[in-house]
Symmetry: C2
């Protein structure tokens, strides 16, 4: 079993410096911290966490609440958060709420029962007023989901603007009957997207058409069903804003394999998140890239600062830029006549 001395030796640094890193104390440069973490990993060194946790009355654990891990956006978000947290000696546990109010509340109890030190919420299904009391038990930071609320820190993208740009792009490609496809419970984020979509339409003299909207699509197999619904019931639809690369992929797969629809000429499709699948599909999927790593890093940093210096930081909002990536699922050869 490796000892603290072994780590110090391999890193070429003093025992005191190693101890500082283990106990998250200041006065260690990032470079030295990295060297020590690397040495600990190489040696499989395990600090005596139980004793340390008992001493500090801290769990050094952060919980991240999110709707479902099978959505790769959240997988990537967790990946980045965990990497960052681990630099500070914190471990991350992941809690899937499946958009259930009860599960969200149950997992928030982890703060009350002192099983975790702080919570990151990547989604919210309960009313904020019901969640707010948990702030008395420890810090909560929002990432991805957001709202009009100034009592906590939030790290997110401008989803209204992103949906606006994607929709303008579909309109520029000549689409005149655009279906708005979404899924999951209505949240602040989803409302903002819908606002952006509607605003873009109105610039082209169009209005939101409820009869072209589908609100139950969340994954690849839903995307397949969306295609059949469009084919059978909404054949005049010529563009789709899906809000999800998975839904877009399912839709494109079904359109090209089960029928002989040409994407984008028969139907232009926009996804969301720039997941790997959006690049691998034939045709590749036009999508919105979210700055996942930057958002994850900032979220962890903000939460850990609150844990290390309670009350010292005022709540803040950090809005990160997105990017519309135009690929083959929307690049029409001939633009339709409006």
């Amino acid at each position: 079993m490796a000892t603290i001395e072994d780590v110090a030796k391999l890193a070429g640094l003093s025992r005191t410096t190693v101890s500082r890193v283990i106990n998250d104390q200041p006065y260690v440069t990032d470079e030295k911290r990295q060297r020590i973490i690397q040495a600990m990993n190489d040696l499989g060194y395990v600090p005596n966490s139980s004793a340390r946790r008992l001493r500090s009355q801290k769990t050094e654990t952060i919980a991240v609440l999110l709707p479902r891990l099978t959505n790769p956006f959240f997988g990537n978000l967790i990946e980045a958060m965990e990497e960052k947290a681990s630099e500070w000696g914190y471990q991350v546990i992941v809690c899937q709420t499946h958009d259930s109010k009860k599960k969200e509340m149950d997992y928030l109890q982890l703060l009350k029962t002192k099983q975790v030190d702080g919570v990151i919420m990547a989604s919210l299904v309960n009313d904020w007023e019901d969640v707010k009391p948990f702030l008395e038990c420890g810090p909560i930071v929002f990432c991805n989901e957001y709202m009009d609320e100034s009592s906590i820190s939030m790290i997110h993208m401008d989803h209204k603007q992103a949906a606006y740009e994607a929709t303008i792009h579909l309109l520029e490609q000549g689409c005149t009957h655009i279906s708005y496809v979404s899924g999951g419970p209505e949240s602040h984020l989803s409302k903002k997207r819908k606002e952006g979509f509607t605003e873009a339409l109105s610039e082209y003299g169009l209005s939101f058409q409820e009869d072209l909207a589908i609100d139950w699509a969340m994954d690849v197999s839903d995307g397949q069903k969306v295609f059949h619904m469009i084919k059978d019931e909404l054949p005049h639809v010529d563009g789709v804003f899906t809000g999800s690369d998975e839904v877009a992929a399912g839709l494109i797969y079904e359109a090209t394999s089960s029928s002989n629809w040409v994407i984008p000429d028969d139907l232009a499709v926009v996804g969301f998140d720039n997941q790997m699948i959006s690049l691998l599909m034939v045709p590749s999927v036009t999508t919105i890239e979210q700055p996942v790593k930057q958002m994850a890093d900032k979220t962890v940093e903000v939460l850990i600062q609150q844990l290390l210096h309670p009350g010292a930081l005022a709540p803040n909002r950090y809005v990160y830029p997105h990017q519309l990536l135009v690929r083959n699922s929307t690049k029409r050869k001939k633009l339709s006549i409006q």
Copy 2:
């Protein structure tokens, strides 16, 4: 805020029955249990977990340790485990080890510090002898990863047989130079796969060729790199066993988009896991389907039985059947001459 009476009323059952379900007591039929869980979800009813936990000295929390969530196999495994655990009133927290010995040890401390009641390990990087002492703090069950060890329960597939069948299939398609592509640390599971691959080769009078093996490929972008390595350095390779749908997808994408290779005629490719991507790719990917849901359900059941009746159950091994799904990435029009 909903009360226990509201739940009883909506479910049309007595307060006592609701209380039994909340406290995981026996004498409630599955049908009634489901009705009560449904009513609790509909009403957003939250049992007073803190008090209950304090009373029972249990956290009603299970930790699942796995290498990385960005691999959809693990996302789907967690999805199924959580659904099952939630039926029993347990919550699941997910811990990514990134194949780090230190992180695995850190997360196992959750048992020691009583932050969780039991642990499911879907991977193992430390020596079992180093993990074994944690059994004194609570039950551990293996799922997916396995080993020759009888002191704990294990739920898994026969990876040797699965790799054997996939390789025989490639050989039957006329492949004579098959590259063995893998990634991550060598584990019992990965050794078993390699054994199956080697056994299949030997039936065709071939032996394992180290110079055709690649051992650093784990995701889509690694798959892309694998293609270029084959193209530039191993052009005589005519078949690939990847052990991963993601690697297979990256390889196929790169072969067909960056070069004009024909899959499967120039290169037959086999994935593993039957992830959604394997169906969406053009061509679709031949793969091994794992019985994810059955394995997840059994694992949770075994662990919870151990939590409810400590020491009552002898450790057992449950081996679940797989299936080779032959798709277009290996269906060669003309078989090569051997």
